[in-house]
């Protein structure tokens, strides 16, 4: 069974600075998807960024980018120019051949003014 590990329960960053959230996963599959979701206090899960495992190029969405290391099974999220609205829980998730999303336990990110 796939597992997703987020080793940082909480992190904080100053507004306008850069922060990196870590995620590792375990799988024997070769083709899969990895995701970062944001969950603000409103509880609505919002997709931040997606990476296909067969793509070597790291995904980027505006201020959000990933560092995907397939051999190391590592998938970190970098948030540049942090904004107050980035304050939320961030979940790393894996989807393989079973097409089920498997989530990590999350990292609570606080952006300080």
């Amino acid at each position: 069974a796939q597992t997703v590990t987020q080793s940082q329960p909480e992190m904080s960053v100053q507004e306008a600075e850069t922060v990196t959230l870590s995620c590792t996963y375990d799988t024997s599959e070769n083709n899969y998807y990895l995701f970062w979701y944001k969950q603000p206090p409103s509880r609505q899960m919002i997709l931040v960024i997606r990476q296909e495992a067969y793509k070597q190029q790291n995904a980027t969405e505006n201020r959000f980018s990933v560092n995907f290391q397939k051999a190391a099974k590592s998938f970190s999220l970098k948030i540049s120019d942090s904004q107050l609205g980035d304050t939320a829980m961030y979940f790393c998730a894996f989807e393989g051949g079973s097409e089920k999303l498997v989530f990590g336990k999350g990292t609570k990110l606080t952006v300080n003014p």
Partner: protein, 117 residues
């Protein structure tokens, strides 16, 4: 485009009582998911529907949980009887996934927070 709707937003019940949650997916989305999110954890898939058929319910505690998706649109998730450990946020999501091997983004609703006393 309207998002995934869920109701109620909050529910407080006593243990051994019954409760039901409702989900209306995005129009045209064939696949619907129910997740359970216990405080301090990530969401866990309970059941996945493709149209009105069940694709995966391997993690649904079938002795007390049931779900249905009539006419392939709205869905209800029921707990009967509830236990203290059922206190969680129940999230509904939908996607346009057409079949195995394809991938489409899951869109989540705002969730229902259940407290069992």
């Amino acid at each position: 485009e309207a998002g995934v709707a869920q109701s109620p937003r909050y529910k407080i019940i006593e243990k051994r009582q019954s409760v039901a949650f409702w989900c209306n997916p995005i129009s045209g989305h064939a696949t619907l998911y129910w997740y359970q999110q216990i405080l301090g954890q990530g969401p866990k898939l309970l059941i996945q529907f493709q149209n009105n058929g069940v694709v995966d319910d391997s993690q649904l505690p079938k002795d007390r949980f049931s779900a249905e998706r009539l006419k392939g649109v709205d869905s209800t998730l029921k707990i009967q009887p509830a236990k203290l450990e059922d206190s969680a946020v129940y999230l509904c999501a939908s996607s346009t996934r057409e079949g195995l091997g394809s991938h489409n983004e899951q869109f989540f609703g705002p969730g229902t927070r259940l407290t069992v006393l």
